[in-house]
Amino acid sequence: MRIAVIFVAVLLILVVGLPYSLRHEDSVSSAVQTYLSLALRLVGFLLALLTVFLSRSVSDEIANRQILMLMAKPLPRWQFVLGKFCGIVLINMSLLAVSGVGIYAGASLLAKMTPRDELDASRLQEEVLTARHSIELRPPDFTARATEVYQERVDGGGYANVVDHDPEVEKERMSREIETRWRTVLPMQVRTFEFENVRCERSPDKTLQIKYKPTVYRYPPDEILRCLWVAGNPDKNTPVYYIDRRDMITRYHTFSVPTDAVAADHSLRIEFVNQNPYKGEPQYANTVTFLPDEPMQVLFTVGTFGGNLFRLLSLVACRLIVLTAFAIFMTCLFSYPVACLISFTFLAMATMAGYLEDAVFYFDQEGAAGVFRTVTAYVYRVAFLVVPRFSHYDGTDVLVDGRNVTLRWVLQGVGVLVMLYTTAIMAFACIMFQRREVSEASV
């Protein structure tokens, strides 16, 4: 149990030491973000290591032969395996709970520091220590408009010289064209975007955030884009807010708007004014586009930081439970160093599942030729049947960004990782342990 003591010591250093060392970051909000990111990753990593180390309890009992006495008692083997599993899960959960409290305390401690300015203070409260829901801007349905345009063109004899054309393909193409035009804002032009279902508390004191990434066709000399945002819809009796921005191009930017800009029917109207060329400054008359895979988002508070942290740690717990099951499975079958190695490989693969899948997919597409490619791809596919994708259940970035770790995500984690993977792995572990001889050959 010395290992648990060491873990708690590391945790203490983390809670007390890390905030201290981060005090000199340029702003409080980014210090808290760095702290959360580091602390959560470190706790997850340490607990994963601890899980694999603790799982040696099974192979140790076999190696030290205590199992001989245990299995001579009326104790079904599956109970032994399940007992070991439950023990490690219990240790993990208690340490995770302690870490959670520690991280919360550490973050609160850091947040008490004097903010750099008012913006920093509000950013900390509105964008970091919170749980925000995000809605991505979806383009309106342009099919009706496309049909109309197509019909006009047909009526105007636009297809007279085209021998054979598919009206559906043609309409689809037109729809895309209209959408592209909708995404693109010409110099000095204004575009109106409409968000639906912004179900936040409407108040002049609370804010919501708009996050966007502008793309331009020509880089301005100072790489700065001048634009004006107008939030609110006077037709729906909301106040109107004007936000004048100078943004570095091709970066994500966020600005805050009081939540009473949202109308009673939960719609939010945003107008974008392309101010280039800006008066008196040497600027190109630049066209701005919001690309489809970098959609504009509205972010608004739906929960507290504490609840968000709890949900995030629940996801961590789900991952640790699967890892525990797998580590127990391996130590039921193999001696400790072998089991340890396999468990760490499992952990690495699961954690990097996202990158690995992409890499293998890419490799399969255009990598090395022939048999090698096929075999590698096949091996990975089989491996990923067994290895769960931990990267799909990692909410650290979401939490650090002050976004909501949804309950739905957590339930999905419980369903897939705990119900599906853990149950299957434990069932295998019990069956294999039942079949194995617990004493080694000695003649």
Binding site: N64, R65, Q66, I67, L68, M69, L70, M71, A72, K73, P74, L75, P76, E437, V438, S439, A441, S442, V443
Partner: protein, 399 residues
Amino acid sequence: MDERQIPVVQTAGLTKIFKDFWRRNRVAAVNDLNIEVRRGEVFGLLGPNGSGKSTTIKMLLGLLYPTRGRIAIFGHPPTDVAVKSRIGFLPEDSYLYRYLNARETLDLYGRLFKLPAKHRDDRIEKLLDMVGLSTEGKRRVGEYSKGMARRIGLAQALINDPEFLILDEPTAGMDPIGMRQIKNVIRELADRGKTILLSSHLLADVEDVCDRVCILYGGQQRAEGPINELLRQDDRTQITTERLSDSTIERVRRVIRETENKDVIQVAPPADRLEAVFMRTVEQAQAANIVTAGAKSGGDLPDFIGTEEPTDLIGTLVSAADREVHKVTIEQVHASKPKPEEESRKKLIASLTDEKPPASLSTQSTPQPAIDETPRTKPVADQAVIDSLLKQEKDDSVG
């Protein structure tokens, strides 16, 4: 089928072949073994190192799976978990959890048998008393000497009051007092109707306690039978008396030569067994209250062992009485051995039988016909001479 008729252990063609990494047969640890352990007997599994004793025991417990052949424990396969609640097992070495103390260790194993807490505490105290570790119960077992760990091992094997005890080299690592105690415990357990299977290569131990033995060599069964049959030298007679004068010896020689026409092979004062000398010395030291950090000599077998099953009372009675008679025959040959268990056994039988003398019971139906059929009378030389000598010797042993 009547539960009492089923042998405790029965194996048929039991074979265990250990394979190497490439699944090639490496060594046959046990080869076509057929043994039967009957209810109430002490069965010895003998053999040199590596003859397959431990492998056999591990297969009986379901810790190893046989390559071929079948095993029935109380008529069930060894993988049947329920059967294990009737078994007590002492492995060749006590593999304890180093960080638990003696009491916690026994409590753990008691819990595995689902004994209620109160019951458990009671049994733990009694067992610790028995193995002489009640004062050391708070110490981590990791600090124990090998012999002390062994004692805990014995205590845990008895925690469930098992019907069937498997002892793998029970006296290994024990001091002679411990050995003596273990042997006494084994005999007493047998008297309370327990079935015991023990493996050993210390033949003196086996000779003292076993009813029947099986000798293994290279995984194969080389000899099997009741121990007194295996040991008896039918062509010899031994007479033990108080010290005789040379003239008397001469007269005895003459009588034997005249009536039987046979020579006396050896006349000598019988050597005391070292064990007896050692036990005497230690008893004297204990009487003088000399301090030791080691194990104290333990107490008696706890009263819960074998007494909480009323159905077995008759069996206990019959087999104990049976062994009583059986023991008397052996006494005639090995009169010089110490027999501290005699008294307690006699008391036990007296308390159970009330009026009937034990000897008369042995003629009634018993579950061990094999033991019953063994001849108990020995070939005699001169009945008159031997009778007179025996009388003298019996008076001694009572005194």
